[in-house]
């Protein structure tokens, strides 16, 4: 690999870089080729990372790691397959082919129904009050009769509006139901993929476990026989990286190796080591 840090160029399979560099920036440079937004600019020319690099390509003591998943990814990086793979490919294909779910109607039709109902109630009360006045005056007050007629007209208008709002709401509910049929189908396909992935992962982890445990026992400073999936994350990451194929250089910010050359030999992979 060739790694440029500011004006300096480092070349080789095992590079020791000064601890003053931000390891996150080194990782970005390894994964994308360059981290030039801050000083010093870092560029890396090396093999492109595989999926395993996302998991264990950057090893440090506070690494957040799901070791079984990472181990399964490591097994895949070595080209391992399982009896679930055909079904998995098929299920992923079906999921990818599933049509996009249409956008759901906005909540506004619910609000319109509620508002229209309130308005109808309000005007019904007005009509009742106006009618009461007309009846009390026994037809003697033409202004009251006029007000009653107005109120009845207004009520009839909002009742029409309310009916229209209910009809819109009904159509929205139907559209939403159709969208949910699609969502439900997609959820089924997603669950199927996830289920197959879980089963494949279990098979891979079972098969990889002996080699992984041997690698873990060999991690410098790791007591033999430690719980294989519950020990120090940097130790687990190193063992998984040794078992799998990182392709791109590993970035190490852990004090387990005396220098990059020792780490590269142990991992059998190119290494950028940040001096502690």
């Amino acid at each position: 690999m060739i790694c440029r840090v500011g004006e300096r160029t480092h070349a080789g399979r095992a590079l020791d870089l000064p601890a003053s560099l931000d390891p996150e920036r080194v990782v970005r440079a390894v994964r994308t080729g360059a981290a030039t937004a801050a000083d010093p600019p870092i560029t890396v020319d090396a093999r492109a990372p595989g999926r395993l690099h996302e998991r264990v390509g950057y090893v440090h003591e506070d690494l957040s790691l799901t070791p079984r998943t990472a181990l399964a990814v490591a097994a895949r990086s070595r080209g391992w397959t399982t009896g679930y793979d055909d079904r998995l490919r098929e299920a992923r294909g079906a999921l990818a082919a599933h049509a996009d779910v249409p956008a759901s109607p906005p909540a506004s039709s619910r609000q319109q129904v509620a508002e229209a109902r309130e308005e109808v109630d309000r005007l019904r009360e007005r009509v009742a009050a106006a009618r009461g006045r007309v009846e009390a005056a026994d037809g003697e007050a033409p202004a009251d009769r006029e007000r009653l007629a107005d109120a009845i007209r207004a009520l009839s208008e909002v009742e029409t509006d309310a009916a229209a709002a209910r009809e819109r709401r009904r159509r929205d509910r139907e559209a939403t139901r159709a969208a949910r049929d699609q969502l439900q189908e997609r959820l089924r396909l997603e669950d199927r993929v996830a289920n197959l992935e879980r089963r494949a992962r279990r098979v891979l982890v079972e098969r990889a476990r002996p080699a992984y445990e041997r690698a873990l026992d060999a991690v410098p400073g790791c007591a033999p026989g430690t719980a294989p999936f519950e020990t120090a994350p940097d130790a687990m990451a190193l063992a998984i990286a040794r078992f799998g194929e990182l392709r791109a250089p590993a970035v190490l910010a852990t004090g387990r190796f005396s220098d990059a050359t020792a780490a590269a030999a142990w991992l059998d992979a190119p290494v950028v080591r940040l001096e502690p």
Partner: protein, 112 residues
């Protein structure tokens, strides 16, 4: 009560988290649905989920079903008689044919 049904992995997870955090508000949990107690808190959570996940969250308000209030007597009677039938394999349409029990088509057309 509020019946909350989810239709995506993210919405399902959010509902699970909600149920785990507020067990006292949960009447019953199903795979990707839950029945929440009839409180403003449940309403608040339902609206929050709906805002966040759109059509992937369905909210229905349920109420207790009292057949003595909701169903007419012949329907209740038919249900009891059918539950008590002697031949378990007999479909209701055949069971009702030629009797006073309501026909399934009539039942399907009559709203509660």
């Amino acid at each position: 009560m509020l019946l909350v049904i989810t239709y995506s992995t993210a919405a399902r997870q959010a509902l699970r988290n909600l149920c785990n955090a507020h067990e006292e508000s949960v009447v019953r949990r199903f795979g990707r649905a839950a029945l929440l107690a009839d409180t403003e808190f449940a309403g608040f959570q339902a609206v929050r989920l709906r805002e966040q996940f759109g059509a992937a969250v369905q909210v229905e308000r349920t109420r207790p079903f009292n057949e003595f209030e909701t169903l007419r007597e012949p329907v209740r009677e038919a249900a009891r008689a059918y539950a008590d039938r002697e031949t378990p394999a007999l479909p209701y349409a055949k069971f009702a044919a030629g009797t006073d029990h309501p026909a399934p088509a009539d039942l399907k057309e009559s709203e509660l």
